[in-house]
Symmetry: C2
Subunit: 400 residues, 2 copies
Amino acid sequence: MKFTDEELIVVKKLEILKNEAGSHSPGIFTFRQKLPEVEIKIDACFLSNPYATELFIEYFNKEILETGKIRDLLECYPSQNSVIAEILAEFLAINPKQIFIGNGAIEIIQAVIHNFTEKKIMINIPTFSSYYEYVKEGVEVVYNELSKAEDYSLDVEHYIAKVKFHRPDTIVLINPNNPNGAYIRLVDVQRILDELWFVKNIIVDESFIHFAYENKSYQLVSLANLVEEHPNLIVIKSMSKDFGVAGIRAGYGIMKQEYVQQLLNNGYLWNSNGLAEYFFRLYARSDFAMRYDILRVKYIVETLEFIKELRQLPYIKVYPSMANFVLIELTNGIMASEFVAKLLITYGIYIRTCDDKIGLQGQFIRLASRSRKENNYIIESLKSCLEMNFVLDLIDERAV
Amino acid sequence: MKFTDEELIVVKKLEILKNEAGSHSPGIFTFRQKLPEVEIKIDACFLSNPYATELFIEYFNKEILETGKIRDLLECYPSQNSVIAEILAEFLAINPKQIFIGNGAIEIIQAVIHNFTEKKIMINIPTFSSYYEYVKEGVEVVYNELSKAEDYSLDVEHYIAKVKFHRPDTIVLINPNNPNGAYIRLVDVQRILDELWFVKNIIVDESFIHFAYENKSYQLVSLANLVEEHPNLIVIKSMSKDFGVAGIRAGYGIMKQEYVQQLLNNGYLWNSNGLAEYFFRLYARSDFAMRYDILRVKYIVETLEFIKELRQLPYIKVYPSMANFVLIELTNGIMASEFVAKLLITYGIYIRTCDDKIGLQGQFIRLASRSRKENNYIIESLKSCLEMNFVLDLIDERAV
């Protein structure tokens, strides 16, 4: 990729910012503070349903801002963990004592890995890095490398055999997986649960499950109700992606009663904030739930359209995904970090390189689906960015 | 106290609610959900500066609501822990690597006690219960019982001797203390730090320090800048009380760099929410800081006035306090739980019984100072409630 001198300074700053953020992308507030010269038009790094955000804001305006209830949300202590769990219990049809409320799913990941993983954890890679980063000293990590030849999807039989061989006390499945969006069908997850009954903790992270489906009615498929039957199952659910409210920090875990009790016994008392409590109360209401589900399906359909259009673009390979993002491999010798910088500087589109993801071989980016209008702009920008690169390379070759 | 049959049902429900909340008071949202028949006019259970809440809301309206930036706060991931620490560092004149951002001070208490307390902790009682509740299995708790005869204030020499005798690895000082508001002067805390250099962790919880002072200019006195010199010092700071934003969940800890690093190494990445990040950015701004300090002093002066008026009331003993609340002992045979119920049912004032506080001998309530107008209403209500009780008792006696 070609950069002007001015652009190169931005590329350098971008690199520093990324390094400071470790194995995650710098957030948009950090970004604005440290790179004010770049205007982000579209944050396609950010994996959320924008229509759900709008729906939440509609309710929030009407019920919280216009009524003046915002003062209470800011000023007063939120309810305790178990009180919020009770609110969700009826809606989810789950025993409230099996629900643990988290300050974002990440807090639950941390709590579970710190408290219940004892000796050995098996993690598929590529994956969401916190699962291996949060492992405590002395815990062995066994990686199950997903195969590029199989588009980084899970080979269920091979997986079961590997777990039986290594005997970890904790295994982690993200379904659909991040960063590639590969989905494990319910029948396969159930087979894993049946075969691996001896594993102490089977963590299934369903943070992107609202975007997956098994039939054309796009019905939601979740394991949340299987905890009763499989007490080694721990379902972790972020609300940030499906509901587009990452700033609120809301998530929950479904796990056996003893685990919830153990966590609450000496901690996690007021770990929700006022807005998160309002969100959870809303989430459990049927009027909101019905309107949300329409937007969930709308977003799935548009994401499918977006992925179809991405597949038409040259010089990239789009991996199969059942999430609201796609893993894209850059072919034709393009460097991911340079492509990300170019797209940001020229088009104001912020996407994620996957350079920091262990288990990926090649130049990869991860791209989120946004609103239809934003997706159209992303497609146009990617197209001209990819073609421009090809033209410049041609000119270069002739100059030589 | 006398109750009608209808009131007795409320008294019973109140008792259940309190039991469910454990050693804390049920929050106001829980309260409204479970006891809708009672209208809380004044939450005097809630220890915060209401003028600071108003100031925050003024900024929040102008900068977040009117500009439409609220969407970003709700939708986007907040910045990482270390980024927010950097924002505070300059304002506090502290090395950013010594700052750990918490989802409320309670998260920091949990993190410190879980990670750095190894064998033995010494805790003054009465105190904020989480300090002993969060202790992990296998850790010994030594209680230092504060003396009623000395109004539950700390006897510094006796304390130092006791720590030297028991050799705990962690000691906790809440300054001013909760639930009584007793203050330890800077010179005494410094003496403790000097004498107890061998203690691994000296936790000083300054959650109420903004309401204390050592001279008539009401200047803020804090240990935050002593961590460099005393690496065993851990200063914990809630923002909920002084800034009146408990619903936002914001707090920070100042501790040696290795501790912050150890916590961030495998956790606490996105533990602030969007509103908390906005709050922290505001907190570090001089325009906000200057306006806030005027309100801090205004509130201190009004609280002093409130305490003076409370001292005029019959049948109670008001303990000395340098916080924004007072511990009150009910004399004349009044039961704390009944008094709290009566005040709630008849006057809509919600206060805290201290029945669950270990280390208190007698019938105690804790009463927060609110706005001057609310304080006036509280004084009037307390007065008639106490006098009415006396009159009814007299009638009773005559009837017998």
